[in-house]
Amino acid sequence: MINITIDGKPYSVEEETSVLEACKDAGIKIPTLCYLEKVQAIGACRVCLVEIEGVHDLVASCVMPVSEEMKIHTNNRRVREARKVVVELLLSEHDGDCQICDRNEDCELQSIAHDLGIRELRYQGAKAPRRYDESTAGLVRNSTKCISCRRCVTVCTEMQSVSALFPQSRGFKTIIGPAFGKELNTVTCVQCGQCAAVCPVGAISERDQTAEVWAALDDPNKTVVVQTAPAIRAALGECFGMEPGTLVTGKMTTALRRMEFDAVFDTNFSADLTIMEEGTELLTRLKKALVDGEQVALPIFTSCSPGWIQFVEYYYPDMLDNLSTCKSPQQMMGAMVKTYYAQKLGKKPEDMFMVSVMPCTAKKFEAARAEMNSSGVQDVDVVLTTRELGKMISEAGIDFQALEDSEMDAPLGLGSGAADIFANTGGVMEAALRTAYEIITGREIPFDNLHVTPVVGMEGIKEAEITIEGTLPEWSFLEGVTAKVAVAHTLGNARALVEKIRAGEAVYHFVEVMTCPGGCIGGGGQPRITTDKIRKARMKAIYAEDEGKALRKSHANPQIIKAYEDFLGEPLSHRSHELLHTKYFEKERV
């Protein structure tokens, strides 16, 4: 332990603690902008300055490790004035149209300026050159808001291993972005939106599509249907000041009805559908490999996460056959709403307007993919992020916290607990195993409370093995087989796992990949800023939602059974292939 003094009081802290962390533990709040817990500490913004006795200059506390007998001052005139000047200089370059900024009241620069008591702009400098990048379906970048903190660079490079963003040029002309200031659609950006999720200001956000949804809601000729992903219900409350991890499924449903959506459906329904299709695809491939001796692509990779799909298309095109051909639950819902549900209403696909609420920016891109029009028109018309839905609810003047609970609509509003956990890393795997194991053996998966504990939690790459015993006669070829599965979240971890598989160092049957840290609950479209603590709170809420349901297995969902009986036939049927499966394409890495 190291003995230090902060503002005259003695403390004892662990070695290698930064001054910033030591102060935080001591209950002292030091303002930060570029620093992000567990993601980045580079001392770039200079907002976290403190004074250390015996050191001539003020130091950036986020990169200064504590040392024995260090005497730290966090709150004297010199420190306060210096921080103020640093923030004032940032403001002198910043396009400060706060009232109409996407990040108004959700901006770290704004709140630090407030906390530091800045009430006048003493420096009037030149503004950064305006570059507006609207080249992608998912993301919008505005250079006049950027404070060059580099959080986005760090997540894009280190967490996602995509490296679409990097500081370009130098000094006042520095611009954070793709090579030579090009636009995002010219590089291998997968539109995961983790850059937007960590941006402290309004420099990177999702493309705002709320106006398109309002227009559809106002159009008397459109039947406007909404679906919400499982991750929304554990995070939307945060937009209204509720604690992270508060489940708001019922309030959210009521709010959507108040906004006059014609039907409120649950992406959980189509997540259950995904399990039926993907589980059958896995078992079929295993049968081909083990019984028919055919060469098939194993392991199968899950295909729910559109950032991951683009990542494979760019970086591992030789492994496209390993991706499950199943569309994501969002796209399955779109296709089912515009065919199955439209037929029930006696409507044409073009009369339907499908809105998705997703924790994700890449879903905006996914919905716009040319293949995603199995109904004859674009299956999902508009994708809103959790944040956009939060804004629409506010715009509608709905007092969210005061809303009563209500249930989603039949028939596509019913989902199992297995579908809820699609929101968490490891959840798709657990849901698939709950169903596959039971199909093969006729018995429930042998894990306490149905949770496949080895694939639960925040570890980057998780593995599990299940030996299949006591198979039903038709699955006897799997008797004694040890099923090997792996789960990765973040594309950096996915890359490491794929490299291991390609090198032959690891062999699996089934691999789940989610693009964002923690899975969809940590998605690029979720309320900002998502820390590990918040991820864990949302994950816990999702597991609670699952455990609170009587229906916890996808294959037991009565609406799924009915959809197969009335419309789809059976998993992997011709109609399933047309509506629920897709193709992938090699993309040139630029």
Partner: protein
């Protein structure tokens, strides 16, 4: 090797003999690929080879050094030494370090701009001259100084610019390579 790279002067034409140059580049890449801090020397040598850093070359370097293209571009755009545009046969660098600035470097620069009708970073339409600004050649005693390729011209006055440049035009007319 790094020193060699710096002293290789630009001999570029707008097109380059890609085969030979890429073979040479690959040899350099093999040498630097696993060296920490290898990117900058590779870029220097590549610019010496090709005369400038074409996009194709930068992508080749990024791929072979297993570095993100955005990072390679970030380094190239950070240093004014690197150019992604073809440059003239003669690169004029006007020193604006403290000593040269005080002794009239800025006026020298203005005179060259006027004489060649180009701005800093641009190349004359006949592709003969590119104009750049430099920060101190370490020749402060000769201030104000300019460099044209590897030639250092000392105590330059705005009135001498025409005369200095004319010697390059003359060599060009006679089909000779200037030193």
């Amino acid at each position: 090797m790094i020193d060699d790279a710096i002293s290789i002067s630009c001999t570029c034409e707008e097109t380059y003999d890609s085969n030979t140059q890429f073979i040479k580049l690959d040899e350099i890449l093999a040498e630097y690929k696993y060296k920490d801090g290898g990117l900058i020397p590779v870029l220097q040598i590549a610019q010496g080879l090709f005369g400038y850093l074409p996009d194709e070359v930068l992508r080749h370097i990024a791929k072979n050094m297993d570095k993100p293209y955005s990072e390679v571009a970030g380094v190239v755009s950070f240093y004014s030494f690197f150019s992604t545009q073809p440059r003239g046969k003669y690169v004029i660098k006007v020193c604006l370090g403290t000593a040269c600035y005080v002794r009239g470097g800025k006026q020298v620069l203005d005179a060259i701009k006027k004489e060649l009708a180009v701005d800093v970073g641009e190349t004359t339409t006949d592709k003969l001259f590119s104009l750049e600004v430099a920060r101190c050649f370490g020749a402060c005693g000769l201030a104000p100084a300019i460099m044209i390729n590897d030639d250092v011209h000392q105590r330059v006055k705005p009135t001498r610019i025409k005369q200095i440049l004319s010697s390059y035009y003359k060599f060009e007319e006679e089909g000779l390579d200037h030193a």
